[in-house]
């Protein structure tokens, strides 16, 4: 880089570029928050769904599973588990409830969390709400 391109020019590109693109990012963010009501299934967020989300967090479910593709890659995607389980809330509850306490010899197994019936229902409702988010056609198929 010869003298035609000086340090102060480089500095100005850094400050100017960063500020410009941060502002552009804020504009896009603002537009996103205005578009979200049509996409994010917010009408389905009941107190029970919120409770389910808190339980999802307080048991670190994302430490094994993905939800809309984000999380850990040790256990199945859950953004569409409702559909995969035949649109059955009972099937989700039954699965979580029936995990063996000491696991399955040699294989991966979800821990037994000893949830109450209310908690199980809340978690299932949270997953049902999540499955209603418009995720641009993702995942590619029912297997997640």
């Amino acid at each position: 880089m010869a003298q035609v391109f000086t340090k102060s020019m480089a500095r100005n590109i850094f400050y100017g570029g960063s500020v410009f693109f941060m502002l552009l990012f804020l504009v896009l963010t603002f537009d996103t928050t205005r578009s979200l009501p049509a996409l994010d299934n917010r009408d389905a967020i009941t107190p029970e769904v919120a409770r389910g989300k808190l339980l999802w967090e307080q048991n670190d479910c994302v430490g094994c599973h993905t939800l809309l593709g984000e999380g850990a890659y040790f256990a199945p995607e859950l953004g569409n588990v409702y559909q995969r389980f035949g649109n059955s809330k009972e099937a989700i509850i039954g699965f979580i409830k029936s995990r063996p306490k000491n696991g399955i010899p040699g294989r991966r197994s979800m821990p037994q969390f000893n949830f109450s019936d209310e908690e199980l229902s809340a978690i299932a409702e949270f997953l049902i709400y999540s499955s209603g988010i418009n995720a641009a056609g993702w995942p590619p198929n029912i297997q997640g």
């Binding site: 256990a75 988010i133 993702w138």
Partner: protein, 467 residues
Amino acid sequence: MQYKSQAVAMPYFIAAIILFVAQILFGLIMGLQYVIGDFLFPEIPFNVARMVHTNTLIVWLLFGFMGAAYYLVPEEAETELFSPWLAKLMFWIFFLAAGATVAGYLLVPYATLAELTGNELFPTMGREFLEQPTITKIGIVIVALAFLFNVGMTVLKGRKTVVNLVLLIGLLGLAVFFLFAFYVPDNLVLDKFFWWWVVHLWVEGVWELILGAILAFVLIKVTGVDREVIEKWLYVIIAMALITGIIGTGHHFFWIGAPEYWQWWGSIFSALEPLPFFMMTVFAFNMVNRRRRNHPNRVATLWALGTAVMAFLGAGVWGFLHTLSPVNYYTHGTQLTAAHGHMAFYGAYVMIVLTIISYAMPLLRGRTAANSNKSQVLEMWSFWLMTIAMVFITLFLTGAGILQVYLQRVSETPQPFLVVQDQIHLFYWLREVAGVVFLIGLICYIASFFVGNKDPEHTLEVSNTTT
């Protein structure tokens, strides 16, 4: 070491290395759980091992960044640190908080930890990488503020160099964007959207400024190239990093319920994200080729070149591999993501912290310029063992990822997740073997601090130095 107060960096570096060891051990546990599903179950379930693996990584990198700042800011500013005792106090607060948090993860179920720390009053737990109890997060903010105050005051009272300024902007951004860790709305889409303001704007944004500043500092020291030249490069690199990286955040918004225009913004800008990393590689090799001195700390130079190359491969190439939305539609949330994550973190952030430790530690331990030949050779072994192991970890996870994508998402008869996992065991086994090699490299690294301490060092060969 030119200023006495630079010595506060030492405990930060030592803590970083201790947590690095914990990170790798838990990585090996997880790697084994991928193939022996019930390994340590139910005592250490996978998610707990993963929290320890990722959280210790983040915290040891933060220790490394702080140590780097405490070391290089006084030297750049040509003045003593504003408050060495505050730096020492913050070290102990941070170290004990990190230790207590890891102990909490391991000793009680996560839900119990949430209950004990009153998570329901102010819920912030249970999101990827931000699993720390709310009280720990508040502790992180306090430590970060005290640290920024200390470093900022040092810069203010001393010489203002570009390296210091860029480092400070990076650290300030780190603190500011961390505040989004406290925003956890019930709306999952909003939650995810702003979660990335911490995670992406850290690692593909402001952390790159920290990386650039540390690399520039070490290159000034080991090559003796004129500071003006290096600073110009630094500005151009970080300009490109933010120009591409900020809107590049959009590559995380493809499939989480955000508007579909993010597929364009995210694909285009993140496709340009390899550029600053490529420039960093060119920069590092250029400076070393134009060096005006042969610094006796050869291994620090090796780390500096290594971080530039590996950051380009891991963050740049492996990031580009799956960043275009039509590709990402199939690869999102698979082992390909894990492959990229491993090499990017190692190349960009692990290696830059090891670079500054490699440069600064001999000086902090009272040597004139470098470790003995014996120690440096062992450290070079550790460099190659860890780096090659990481290349193979990445390649094996990439193999696993491609197969996973095909079997689960592309083939005409898509198979269930766990059925697919069984079919890619071989790659997971190979990854675990590479992980063991990484651990051997890490053992060599630690051993390099203890060998040849009584041997003489090379004398500094100086020619035409101006810095």
